[in-house]
């Protein structure tokens, strides 16, 4: 899973981020996405300008609010804007 091969060090920035200038963070509020493994208080790393795939989790702007949605669950007739694609979740335990 970790793309570090034989190396014994990891650069978190490089690991989490692909397109630096297009990367942003959001703070997860509530447990609406717990089935997807995203919990209240998680730091959500997202990338703008990426074309979403069906299995992606995306940030959608719905009713002037950012909501995490599974791309596959977005109805095409729904008036939503996909703002960014979730690329990583950071969770601190202590």
């Amino acid at each position: 899973m970790l793309n570090v091969d034989s190396e014994d060090t990891i650069d978190l920035e490089e690991y989490l981020i692909e397109n630096r200038p297009a990367t942003f963070s959001l703070l997860m509020k509530g447990n609406a996405m717990q089935d997807e493994g995203i919990l209240d208080g998680d730091l959500v790393i997202v990338e703008r300008g990426k074309t979403p795939k069906q299995r992606d989790i995306v940030v959608a702007e719905i009713d002037e609010e950012y909501q995490l949605k599974k791309m596959s669950s977005l109805k095409s007739n729904q008036k939503t804007t996909v703002v960014a694609v979730v690329v990583a979740i950071v969770r601190k335990y202590r």
Partner: protein
Amino acid sequence: MVTGRERGMATAISQEAKKLGVSRGMPIFLIKKQFPEVLVVDSNYRSYSEFASRMFEIVRRFTPLVEEYSIDECFADLTNVLNPEKMAQEIKQTLKRELGLTFSIGLASTKVIAKIASKWNKPDGFTVIRHSDIRTFLKDLQIGKVWGIGPATSMHLRKHGIQTALNLIDRPKQWVEANLSKPELERWKELQGEQVYKVHAELGEKQVSIQRTRSLSKTANKEIIFSELSNNIENACANARADKLKSRKIYIFLKTQTFRYKRAEVRLTSPTNSPTTVLNAIRASFDSIYDLGVEYRATGVTLSELSSTESTQNDLFGEVLKNQKKDILFETIDKLERRYGKNTIQLGSSLKSSRMRKTKPNKPLWILSLGEVV
């Protein structure tokens, strides 16, 4: 919305607030009194400078010739691009897609006209001013709106009956030379579409150093070896002068018959491209790396830490701009912001490698927050 609460004056104004009549520099207490519906917040400089460096980074994907002009503006030189208009569109779209902000872009043959173009259709504007359209765009443009023409100069120009930018370019060159100063003559040229001001790209500067090496027929003669080195230095300096560059750090090396390198470096107090200055500076180093009785096969010099000889001229221009801006209270902050932007520069990568290499900026990673999500 208005930012600048911490400074007591509006530093950035949303389109909505602009429409109400809020302008840059307006005191916060006045805004609160006159426009109670306007939301006044602190400026977030870290976030601004992060957005700025991201903007510069994205534009540099398209061309290394990017001048970071201020915290929210840059110039990109698309002179040698096959289809500049298409590239400018792509830059704009990429910025919007990846940063989620709108940018106004102006495309023209000179910096002064490009500035006008970029301001033409704010926000989210895209304006191309072709040579043949220049007059149309300048017709109703107040002279004081031209980049670098401050209140004092525009008053002076008005006294001469010059109200608009078009009025200025309609004056013959002789008149401009006789009645105005050098900066105005430069603006006059730029407004006509004749380029005076270059885009000062700091990253992606193609030339990082100038090298000259030459092999010589096997000798241990100190004088011959020194004159060989001197020859290389002369050539390298000539090269630097041709490219309008000066060097601040000089490396010299001697290569022995047994292929060993003896190196030395000298840092000068000020940049130069004069061979005599360089020779004087490296003489002692040469003496220290030269070994008596050893045979040498080559000498070489590298001029590095190159800077443009035009930078003194630029300073003049900057000085002029600054003086004209004196009455604007943003001078200090502009400087600061310019510096903020510049701190994010990564030095000296070559044209290709700067695009291909995964560059890691030498600064902490700020991930901009978009707030909360549910």
